[in-house]
C-alpha cells in the first residue's frame, strides 16, 4: 500500500439530507488509492445517506466531493459511474425481473468494448451465479443476489467501490463469503468505501475506519486502533467475543 499524495475520493464537510430534513451536518471522509475504509456508527447516523450523497442520488447542500482531484459534487449517478466510481445499494440492488446475465450487461451499460471479456471475468470471480446466468435475478437467494450486486458494480472496472452494508441480512456463512470476495476485489486494486453494521468483522480487514454519529464525524483512525479503542468497543462493536 503505497502512500499516495492525493486521496482518490475525498468528501469534505458534506451537508445533505432528504428535502428539508438534514441528516448529514458536515461529514468528511477520504479514501486513498487501493485501501479499504469502513464507516461504522449507530442506526440513523447517516451512513447510507452519506453513500447516496457521494453518489449523487440525493443533492449535496454544502461541502465538496472530489474524485481524483476533480470536483464531482452534485454529479448525477449516471455521471459518477463514468468517472470511475461504483455503488452497491443496501437493498433492491439487483434487477429482479432481468436475468443474471442481463443484470451484468446493465452493469456494463456504458462500456463501449470488452463487455464479453468482462462478463467472463465476473463469472470467474463469482462462480455461484455463473451457472444460473439465464435465470431471473429475483430467483436468487440473498447471498447470491449480493454476489450479483457486487458483480454488477464491478462491470465497469471502477477505481472506488461504495458498498452499503454488503452483509445485511445474510447468514454468518454467507457474510464470511461476501467479505472474502470483497477482500479479493480490493486486492485487485479497487479501493473500497464500505458501510457496515457488522463493524468488528469489517474493521478487521479494513485499513482505516470512521465512526459516524448523528450526522457528524465522531472518530476516525486506523482500523486496528478503532478495534482496540475502548469507546468504540463499548459503543459500536458490542462485547468482546
Amino acid at each position: 500500500m503505497g502512500v499516495s499524495i492525493l486521496p482518490v475520493l475525498e468528501v469534505k464537510d458534506v451537508v445533505a439530507g432528504y428535502g428539508e430534513v438534514e441528516i448529514l451536518h458536515g461529514v468528511s471522509i477520504k479514501v486513498d488509492e487501493g485501501e479499504v475504509v469502513t464507516i461504522i456508527g449507530p442506526n440513523g447516523a447517516g451512513k447510507s445517506t452519506l453513500m447516496k450523497a457521494v453518489f449523487g442520488l440525493i443533492p449535496v447542500k454544502k461541502g465538496r466531493i472530489t474524485f481524483k482531484g476533480r470536483d464531482v459534487t452534485g454529479s448525477p449517478p449516471e455521471k459518477m459511474v463514468r468517472f470511475g466510481l461504483s455503488y452497491v445499494p443496501q437493498s433492491e440492488n439487483a434487477f429482479a425481473t432481468l436475468s443474471i446475465q442481463e443484470n451484468l450487461e446493465m452493469g456494463g451499460f456504458i462500456r463501449r468494448d470488452g463487455l464479453s471479456e468482462r462478463l467472463n471475468w465476473a463469472y470467474e470471480l463469482f462462480p455461484d451465479i455463473a451457472s444460473r446466468r439465464h435465470e431471473r435475478a429475483g430467483r436468487l437467494s440473498g447471498g447470491q443476489r449480493q454476489m450479483l450486486a457486487l458483480a454488477r458494480a464491478l462491470m465497469l472496472d471502477p477505481q472506488v467501490l461504495l458498498l452499503d452494508e454488503p452483509s445485511a441480512s445474510l447468514s454468518p456463512k454467507m457474510v464470511e463469503a461476501i467479505f472474502e470476495r470483497v477482500a479479493q476485489i480490493n486486492r485487485s486494486g479497487v479501493a473500497i468505501l464500505m458501510v457496515e453494521q457488522n463493524a468488528r468483522h469489517a474493521l478487521q480487514f479494513s485499513r482505516r475506519g470512521y465512526v459516524l454519529a448523528m450526522g457528524v464525524n465522531r472518530l476516525e483512525g486506523a482500523a486496528d486502533e478503532l478495534l482496540e479503542s475502548a469507546e468504540v468497543g463499548k459503543l459500536y462493536l458490542g462485547a468482546e467475543p
Binding site: 432528504y18 428535502g19 425481473t97 431471473r136 430467483r139 440473498g142
Partner: protein, 389 residues
C-alpha cells in the same frame, strides 16, 4: 406569488361577469324577464353538478379512489329516480320501462304526499343503487393498483349506457324517459317553478356539503385521508385499508346518485345521450381538478367555473360568429377544457382552492419530500420471494 393570489377571485369574477353580461346584452338588458330566469337555471345546474363533484371529491380528493366512470353513477342515479317517480308506462307498446312506482309512493294521505314523497324515495333509491354498484365494482379492483379501478369504471359506464339502449323494456332504450314529475310542481306557477327548484337544488347541495364536511372531519374521515397519503402506514396502524377505501368509494357514489336524481327531476327527461364519457365523466374531473381536490369548497367552485365556461360557449352561439368558429365552438371549448386540466395539473396542482391541511403540515411536507426521491410508485404486487440461505 402575489399574482397567484388573484387567480381564484379573477376566475370567479370573469365567469360571473360573462354569465350575467352575455345573456343580458343579448336580451336587451331585460333582467327581470330573461336574465334572472336564465341565471336561476344556470345556478340550479351548477348546484346539481356541484353535488356530483362533491361525490367525486369524497372518492378522489379524500379517499384517493380513482373513478373514471362517473357517468355510470350519474346515470344510475338519474334513471333510478325517474322510474321511482314516473307512473307505470301508459302505452307499453310505444314506451316501456321497468318500475314506474310514482303513483304508488304517495301513500301518506295527508300533506299532499304525491308532491314530495316519491321524490324523497326516488333519491334515496338512487343513492342506494349507486352505493351497491360501487360496492360491487370495488371487489375486483380496490386491492390492486389505483388505475385498475379507473379502467373498470370506464367499462361499467360504457356497458350500462349500452344496456340502457339495447334492453328495450328496461328504460325505453335510446329515446330515454320523458315526463319525469317534479317535486312541489303543482303548488307553483310554472313560470316561477325554476326558482323553487333552484331552492331545492341548493338545499340538496347544502345538505350534501354538510354531510361530507361532517364525515371528513370525523375520525372516519381522518382514516380516509391518512390512507390516501400512505396506505402502508395506515394499514400498519391496524386499519382495514380495503374496507375504508370501499366505504369512501361507496359514500361518494351515493352522493353522485343523489346528484343524478336531482338532475332527473330538474330536466324532466333523461336519455343515454347525456351520459357519455365526455359529458358525464370528464367535466366532473375538470371541475374537481380545477376547483381543488380535497377541498369541498373547491369542488363547488370548480363546478361553477367549468359549467360557466360551458354556458359561455353556448351563449357565444347567439352572437354573429364567423362560420369557421361557429361550427367548431363546442370542439374548441372541449379542447380548452382538456388543456385547462393539464395546465392546472402542471401549474397549480392544488387547484383554485387548495386543500386545507389540518392534521400536520410538517408531516405532509416530509411525506412529499420522501416521495420525490422515488420518482416511480413502488410496486404493490409482491415480487417472487427469494429463498432463504
Amino acid at each position: 406569488m402575489r399574482l397567484e393570489r388573484w387567480i381564484t377571485p379573477a376566475a370567479f369574477a370573469a365567469v360571473t361577469l360573462a354569465v350575467i353580461i352575455m345573456p343580458a346584452e343579448r336580451s336587451g338588458w331585460a333582467f327581470r324577464d330573461s336574465v334572472i330566469p336564465f341565471l336561476a337555471s344556470f345556478a340550479t345546474t351548477v348546484a346539481i353538478f356541484a353535488v356530483i363533484s362533491l361525490g367525486l371529491n369524497v372518492q378522489w380528493g379524500y379517499t384517493g379512489v380513482f373513478n373514471f366512470g362517473i357517468a355510470a353513477f350519474f346515470m344510475v342515479g338519474a334513471y333510478t329516480a325517474a322510474i321511482f317517480t314516473k307512473p307505470p308506462p301508459a302505452q307499453p307498446e310505444f314506451v316501456s320501462y321497468v318500475g314506474g312506482f310514482g303513483d304508488k309512493l304517495d301513500f301518506l294521505p295527508f300533506l299532499s304526499s304525491d308532491q314530495w314523497l316519491p321524490f324523497l324515495i326516488g333519491t334515496a333509491a338512487a343513492a342506494v343503487m349507486c352505493g351497491v354498484l360501487a360496492f360491487l365494482l370495488s371487489i375486483p379492483t380496490l386491492r390492486l393498483r389505483e388505475d385498475y379501478l379507473a379502467i373498470v369504471t370506464i367499462g361499467i359506464a360504457e356497458l350500462l349506457r349500452n344496456v340502457s339502449i339495447e334492453e328495450r323494456g328496461l328504460v325505453n332504450s335510446a329515446r330515454g324517459l320523458t315526463g319525469i314529475p317534479r317535486p312541489f310542481h303543482d303548488f307553483f306557477d310554472p313560470g316561477d317553478y325554476r326558482f323553487v327548484y333552484f331552492g331545492i337544488a341548493l338545499g340538496v347541495l347544502a345538505l350534501v356539503y354538510l354531510a361530507v364536511e361532517r364525515g371528513i372531519r370525523s375520525p372516519w374521515g381522518r382514516v380516509l385521508r391518512a390512507l390516501r397519503e400512505d396506505e402502508l402506514t395506515t394499514a400498519a396502524s391496524g386499519k382495514n385499508v380495503f374496507a375504508f377505501k370501499t366505504q369512501g368509494f361507496v359514500f361518494g357514489a351515493m352522493i353522485m346518485g343523489i346528484g343524478g336524481s336531482v338532475f332527473a327531476y330538474e330536466r324532466g327527461s333523461v336519455s343515454p345521450d347525456t351520459f357519455t364519457h365526455f359529458f358525464a365523466t370528464f367535466i366532473f374531473w375538470a371541475m374537481l381538478i380545477m376547483g381543488g381536490s380535497g377541498n369541498n369548497k373547491g369542488a363547488v367552485l370548480g363546478a361553477y367555473i367549468v359549467w360557466g365556461l360551458w354556458i359561455i360557449s353556448l351563449q357565444l352561439l347567439g352572437y354573429d360568429l364567423p362560420q369557421f368558429l361557429r361550427s367548431r365552438i363546442f370542439f374548441i371549448r372541449d379542447f380548452i377544457l382538456g388543456a385547462l386540466i393539464i395546465a392546472v395539473l402542471l401549474l397549480r396542482p392544488q387547484g383554485l382552492l387548495p386543500e386545507e391541511r389540518r392534521v400536520s403540515i410538517w408531516l405532509e411536507r416530509q411525506l412529499k419530500r420522501r416521495r420525490r426521491l422515488w420518482p416511480w410508485p413502488r410496486r404493490r404486487e409482491p415480487t417472487e420471494a427469494a429463498p432463504v440461505d
